[in-house]
Symmetry: C2
Subunit: 202 residues, 2 copies
């Protein structure tokens, strides 16, 4: 019945669930302990403090999903392929880890410095991506001339429906989980087509 998982991992997974739903400040050690079915002290036994526990989760979340993304725009694919590859992988990560976008948006304004460092450590270097996009836009003489607008549009279209899910699902999907899952699954195709049309490469 009870799958025998090591307590340490069980805590980490439970803490991730609670932290990603309520944010750092909205989460108490008691909440995590209760949900994990263990004692509060045990949390401190494994992870010395709330901040250390949170930090572990935070880093883990990033290192697990970001590394594959940094290289795409540094490769020598044609623009269309870069876009579709990036969107595919990016949205895939969120489909498999839907808590990430909400988590990021929630903590984003409290310590952007720290978040930015984590992202850089995970291998994302936006200035390189910008440089690469800029070259492509020129070479393939595309309508859009600001690579930063391009990048923000691209990422925004991928992240937003995941980050705002609780609200969107409730307001325009009658809070129907499965309907929203189907909606999200369709976004890979949707975003790629949308982006390619927008920059007039069809």
């Amino acid at each position: 019945m009870k799958p025998k998982i090591r307590t340490e991992d069980h805590i980490l997974e439970t803490a991730r669930e609670v932290f990603t739903q309520y944010g750092y400040d909205g989460t108490s050690m008691q909440m995590i302990a209760d949900r994990a079915g263990i004692n509060k002290s045990l949390l401190h036994y494994y992870y010395r403090s709330k901040e250390k526990l949170f930090g572990q989760i935070f880093s883990r979340v990033f290192s697990q999903f970001i590394p594959h993304l940094g290289v795409i725009f540094m490769s020598d694919m044609p623009l269309e392929e870069k876009i579709s590859t990036f969107v595919d992988r990016y949205i895939d990560v969120f489909l498999n880890n839907p808590y990430i976008p909400i988590f990021v948006m929630q903590e984003l304004s409290k310590n952007p410095q720290h978040l930015a460092e984590l992202i850089r450590e995970a291998g994302i270097h936006p200035e390189l991506m910008i440089e690469n996009i800029s070259q492509m836009l020129n070479r393939e003489n595309i309508r859009m001339n600001d690579p930063r607008q391009f990048l923000v549009n691209l990422i925004g279209l991928c992240i937003f429906p995941f980050a705002a899910r609780p609200l969107i699902q409730r307001m325009i999907f009658d809070n129907d989980r499965e309907a929203y899952d189907r909606f999200l699954a369709e976004r890979k195709k949707e975003v790629v087509t949308f982006m390619l049309n927008a920059i007039q490469k069809t």
Copy 2:
């Protein structure tokens, strides 16, 4: 020197600043009192509890900005004009109240129910917008066939650069405030062009 504002309003404005930066849980009554230069007890004198104070701000933020938006898609403008009007006003609101998107994203997953009610009370009825968009997409035989994808793209493109500002400004604008302000100002034109191209109406 000291502008003689009624204490009650002074508190409300200060509280808005703190709440919108740190979120509900990240804000303490002490922080608000300190920043407002008054005593903690005075907060309770004017607003009975932290929750009541927060509630006032929350409602106020919405009622002040949303009402103008609900009607746009219900009007009889042609599609292009609806898009550009909506984007213009929407982004204008955020340019004048840049804290709103971050605020919303931060509280969004804690109590989506409450947030959805506030938005409805403020006159936004997504189901009507969806219905209207759906008719337009059919009538003007446009590539995109799912009005919900259309709406999510539209709103995401408007909100995302504001919601993720702390991170984006730091990572791809060298944390240059003014440069990012210029970037945001350009987004009105950018988003409208982008949307119209994407649905192939130029």
